[in-house]
Structure formats: C-alpha cells, structure tokens
C-alpha cells in the first residue's frame, strides 16, 4: 500500500498551487463582488493546460487521470469555490460527458479545443420541473432528416452564459420517458465570434447566495438544429451517459470541498494563534482546540476517501458508492469546517472584508448541486442494498 502521490502528480500540485496563489487568489474578491467570472484568469488557466487535466494526451489533455483532476480541484477549492465550479462544470461534467459518450470522431472534433480551454463547456440537465427528479426532463429533440430539432428550456446551467460547447440531455421519445427515451447530444451554442448560435438564447445570470464568480443561467432552445452525428452514446440511452458523467463528477466535487475544508482549518489555526482574548491566544482555549481537532480529523478522513476513490476510478474499479460518499461527506464536512472557522473568527468571520464570509456562502451549494445530499444517500443505499440482492429503485 502506498499513500504517496506519484512524482508527476506532486509536480502537478506544485504548478496548480502556484497558479492558484499567484494568479487566482488576487482575482477572487473582485469576482465575488462584481459577480463576473475572472476571464483573464480563465485564460491563464487554459494556457497552462488546466482545462484538460484528466483527459488523454491524444485528445489534447494532460493525461493526469482522475487523481490529477482531484489535485486540481483540491488546490483550486482551497482558494476559490467559484473558480472550482467553472472548472468542474467544464471538465468534470460538460467535457466528461463528451469524452464518455462520444465516439472517436466526436472526441477528435471537440476535445482538443475543450482541453486547451479555447472553448468552455457546460452540462445541461436540470429543467424547471426536473431537478432531483432528473428523469422528468421535457426538453424535446425531434428527428428531422439528418438532424434533431431541440425545443425547450434548461435551468441553473453553470457556465451557461459563457460556454460555447454543451452536452445536453433531451427527450427523443416521450412515450419511453428518460430511461430509453432520452438522448444526449453535444451542441455548439456560440459561433466563432462569440455570438449565440441560431435557436439558442442564454438567459439572465441568476442571483445566487454564493458562487458569484461562477456564472449560472437558464438557457432556452427554439427550433435549434443539431446534426444527428452529434448524439453522445446511443439514441434513447442518454440518461446512462449523463448519470455516468455525474458519478465521476462527484469524486472531484468531493476534492473541491476538501480544498475548502483545508483552507478553513488553516485560517482557523492561524487566527487562533494570533488572536488574544482573556490574556492569551485563542489557541490556548480548550473549546477552540476541540473545534480545530474536529475540523482536522474530518478533513483528513475526507482526504483519504477522495484520493482512494480517485484511485478506484483510475484503476477501473467500481466507484459509484464511494463517489456518492465523496460528495455527501465532502460537502457536509466543508460546510461544518467553514462554519467553525466563522465562529472562531467571530465578527471578523462575518465581515465581508475577510474572505471567510465568502467561503461560508460558497460552501452551501455543494450540499445541493450535482445531486442533493438526499439523492446521494439514496444512491449509496441503492448500491449497498444491491450488494445484498435488493433493488430499492424501479
């Protein structure tokens, strides 16, 4: 058993940490206040290869696998959850669905520009009436000659306003429903000059509690034409492609929350060493010691889970149950850690001038998106009961 990362993964971590500290950190406050993604930082991340970390070299990626991708999300997550979300939506779900579901032609056509960050990807699943109940999507794809025509609406699409490539799930056969009647497509939503393609309308940016630096929007399609060759996987089996994509995305979402938990712990330690009350540093107060000990214990457990699950993925072993656990535990641990950090920092933790407040707002979403934690518990239970021969879902 070896718990040491490979030397190239350690080198990748050094590179990403330097990027996160030197390029990203100075841009985070402005992105949060202005609710605009830091596009110049996006460009720099793209230039050094960060938009293609897990994908094979033959498609323009770094070939660093799920482990490399977890390192990316952990290091970015330490500094800015919004930026981790931009990257997560691009790599972990938007591009991942194209990689998992696409044939050789589709991969060769789309992946190089996505891995180099020349194009930004999004993943379009959620609809107004289909959140946790993803199987009840209605966006319609009607076959017309060699094309499909998309009509309908998607909601809460991360990167939606700036993405030029999307993986999208649409209903091709309403009679069969999502399982058997839904098909995944790769679509181009912006032209070379950045204008929306015909039939595509990006909606207004959503006003969110946190993640201000990560743009989210509703998007709509009206008579939007997709060539039939853009189907990801098989016609009617798109739900499978999308669910497989989400399974992988959960591991790295766990890695991003690990970064958030670590940053909260680090800040708490530094503050507790510095701040004096009752004539001594907070660090000498037992109630504070208990809090940091709990934070550290949970963070360490999460680190083991995340990197072991990444190892399962990279070694083609079953990982669905563990991926759900990464997302479930990670989001709850990060929320608890940042909550304790705010508590230890007192009024300063609540101040908008100190970034713990941003961390607090940003952390909450991880318990909701990419499958709420309640859905994760169902997925984990489903896997557990499957092991004793019981099916708990139709």
């Amino acid at each position: 058993m070896d718990f040491e990362l490979s030397r190239e993964h350690q080198a990748l971590r050094r590179l990403i940490r330097e990027f996160a500290e030197e390029e990203l950190r100075p841009a985070t406050r402005c992105a949060d206040r202005s609710a605009q993604p830091p596009l110049d930082v996006v460009k720099k991340a793209a230039e050094i290869g960060l938009f293609g970390v897990p994908f094979p070299r033959e498609y323009g990626g770094l070939g660093a696998g799920e482990t490399g991708y977890c390192i990316l999300m952990e290091e970015i997550g330490r500094v800015d959850t919004s930026f981790a979300t931009i990257i997560g939506a691009h790599i972990g779900i938007g591009t991942m669905a194209i990689y998992l579901g696409g044939n050789k032609q589709i991969r060769e056509k789309y992946l190089p520009d996505l891995c180099s960050g020349k194009k930004i990807a999004a993943f379009a699943l959620t609809e107004p009436q289909a959140g946790s109940d993803a199987a009840s999507i209605k966006l319609r794809a009607t076959k017309e000659g060699d094309s499909y025509i998309l009509d309908g609406e998607k909601m809460w699409i991360t990167n939606g306003p700036m993405a030029s490539t999307m993986s999208i799930l649409a209903v091709t056969d309403p009679a069969l429903g999502a399982r058997g009647g839904a098909t995944a497509f790769v679509i181009e939503t912006r032209n070379g000059d950045g204008a929306p393609t015909e039939g595509f309308t990006p909606g207004k940016h959503e006003h969110k509690m946190g993640l201000h630096g990560s743009p989210t929007a509703a998007i709509s399609f009206d008579n939007f034409r997709v060539p039939a060759e853009n189907v990801l996987g098989q016609v009617g089996l798109g739900f499978v492609v999308f669910m497989q994509t989400l399974d992988i995305g959960r591991v790295t979402l766990g890695a991003a929350t690990l970064g958030g938990a670590e940053a909260s712990l680090q800040q708490t330690l530094e503050w507790a060493a510095l701040r004096e009350q009752f004539g001594k540093p907070l660090a000498l107060t037992q109630s504070i010691q208990f809090m940091v000990a709990d934070m550290a214990a949970e963070t360490e457990a999460l680190r083991s889970l995340v990197y072991r699950t990444a190892w399962l993925v990279d070694n083609q072993k079953p990982f669905i149950k563990e991926a759900g656990m990464c997302k479930l535990l990670g989001s709850e641990i990060a929320s608890r850690c940042v909550d304790r950090a705010v508590q230890v920092m007192g009024a300063l933790g609540y101040s908008r001038d100190v970034h713990m407040e941003r961390g607090f707002r940003d952390a909450r979403i991880a318990e909701i998106f990419e499958g709420t934690n309640e859905i994760q518990r169902i997925l984990i239970a489903e896997q557990l009961f499957r092991e004793v021969g019981v099916r708990i879902r139709p």
């Binding site: 030397r7 190239e8 350690q10 080198a11 990748l12 050094r14 590179l15 330097e18 990027f19 030197e22 390029e23 720099k44 230039e47 050094i48 290869g49 960060l50 970390v53 070299r57 770094l62 070939g63 660093a64």
Partner: protein
C-alpha cells in the same frame, strides 16, 4: 547560441516555522520548490530561446533535484542535466558546473539565480566566472544576448546597463521573475516522455581539490537576539530622559 541555466531547489518557506526561543527551525511539510531567482533565470533563458537559443538546465544534488530539473523542462528548457553529488559549498558546486560547461564545450552563456531564498549567499555566479575565467554580470534585472555579447540592466546603486562579450556568466535577480508558470503539457512530458541526463562526478574532468569544500556547514545556529530600544511617548518625555542620563543639561 547555447545557454546553460543553473537551477536550485529550496524548501518551500510556507512549510517552515522558526522557533526563536527554542532556536530551532521546524519543517512541517518538506516540499522542495524551484527557487524564485532560478525561475527568473529560466524566464530570461526562455526569452533567448524564442530568438533561437538552445537552453540546457543543470542542477547539482541528491535525487530530489530531478524534480526541479523536470520543472525546468516544463518551463521551457530543451535539455536537463543532473549532476549526482551530495554537493558541498558554493566552490564545489561551481567547480562541478564549470566542469560540466567545459564538457558541453560550446556554452556561450550561463545564467544562474543571483541569491536563493534559503542561503542567499550569491556565491555561485562569481565562483563560476572565476572557475571558467569568464566575465560576470551580477544581479541582472533584464538581459539581452546576441552574437556580440550580453547587454544587461543590473542593480548597482540604482540600475545601470552593463555589457560583456560571450562567453559570460550572468546572475538574475529573484525580483526580475515575472511570474510565468510552467506549462502543464510540458510538465507531463517531462515526467513521461523526456529524460533528465544523470552525470556522475567521475565523468567530469576534476581533481580531488576541486571537490574539497572550503567551508563546512554545521548545525542550525541563531545569532543573539537584538536588544530592542525603548519607545518614548513624546518630546517632553525624551528631554526628561536625556537630562536624567546627563546627555543634556
């Protein structure tokens, strides 16, 4: 033009705590990073590479320096040479690198960091120039090199422009680092596709004297803590004190 860049790894300073009372340096996380001045040297070499120069990175030390050299490849070096040696003082390191430069035979320019984050002694470049009997330009903020030689802006009582004919040794200021990052694709290639050439000291034309350090490093030690003066609230208090000490009447 062939450029040799000396790169050095240093312990990541964010992984250290200094306890002055216990007179100890605690290494909480032993992680080596490329020294900032080495990064500046690589940046300067990369600028010359765009004008057609070939860049070779070189480092002396134990196995870990291979990681520093692979990062140098990711930062644009075409070739990396690792001299396997436990090193010694700056004289030994300079003799080893000078011997490697002679072995490579057609090096026009050697760029090193001016002062590293750890020791900051600034000895390597002048000792290299001495060992090779080349001119030296120390503390460069910017360099430009062509067939004629090197033109540099160096820090010396403000900044001055200095010129020297090739071959020459230049040391780059850490402050000159513009913050360019390693390239991710090159970093992966540096580990999976490219080799770091390992040279042993026996392959170099050196005698025993060249490898004998002049100085020997012993355990960590701290100079006595400086006694702080006292602060005075206002001029009136100052005058009273000066009178008491009979400095003024």
């Amino acid at each position: 033009m062939k450029v040799l860049v000396c790169v050095k790894q240093v312990l990541d300073p964010t992984g250290l705590t200094v306890n002055r009372k216990a007179e100890k340096v605690f290494i909480n996380r032993e992680d080596f990073i490329l020294d900032t001045a080495s990064k500046a040297a690589l940046e300067a070499a990369n600028d010359l590479k765009r004008a057609g120069a070939a860049v070779i990175a070189i480092s002396v030390g134990p196995e870990r320096v291979e990681d520093g050299l692979r990062e140098a490849l990711a930062r644009g070096a075409d070739r990396a040479i690792w001299i396997r040696s436990e090193g010694g003082d700056a004289l030994v390191i300079a003799n080893l690198i000078a011997a490697a430069a002679r072995k490579l035979s057609d090096i026009d320019l050697i760029i090193a960091g001016h002062q590293s984050l750890d020791s900051g002694a600034g000895e390597l470049a002048p000792r290299l120039a001495e060992a090779l009997d080349w001119p030296q330009i120390l503390g460069a903020a910017q360099i430009d090199a062509g067939e004629q030689g090197v033109t540099a802006i160096v820090q010396a009582d403000g900044f001055v422009q200095v010129e020297a004919a090739l071959p020459v040794v230049v040391s780059m200021l850490g402050a000159a680092y513009r913050g360019s990052l390693a390239n991710g694709w090159r970093l992966m290639d540096a580990y999976k596709q490219w080799d770091v050439e390992a040279w042993s000291t026996s392959e170099l034309d050196l005698n025993e004297d060249d490898l004998r350090p002049l100085t020997i490093k012993k355990e960590d030690a701290f100079p006595p803590e400086r006694q702080l003066g006292m602060s005075v609230r206002d001029v009136k208090e100052l005058v009273v004190m000066l009178k008491r000490e009979k400095v003024i009447a």
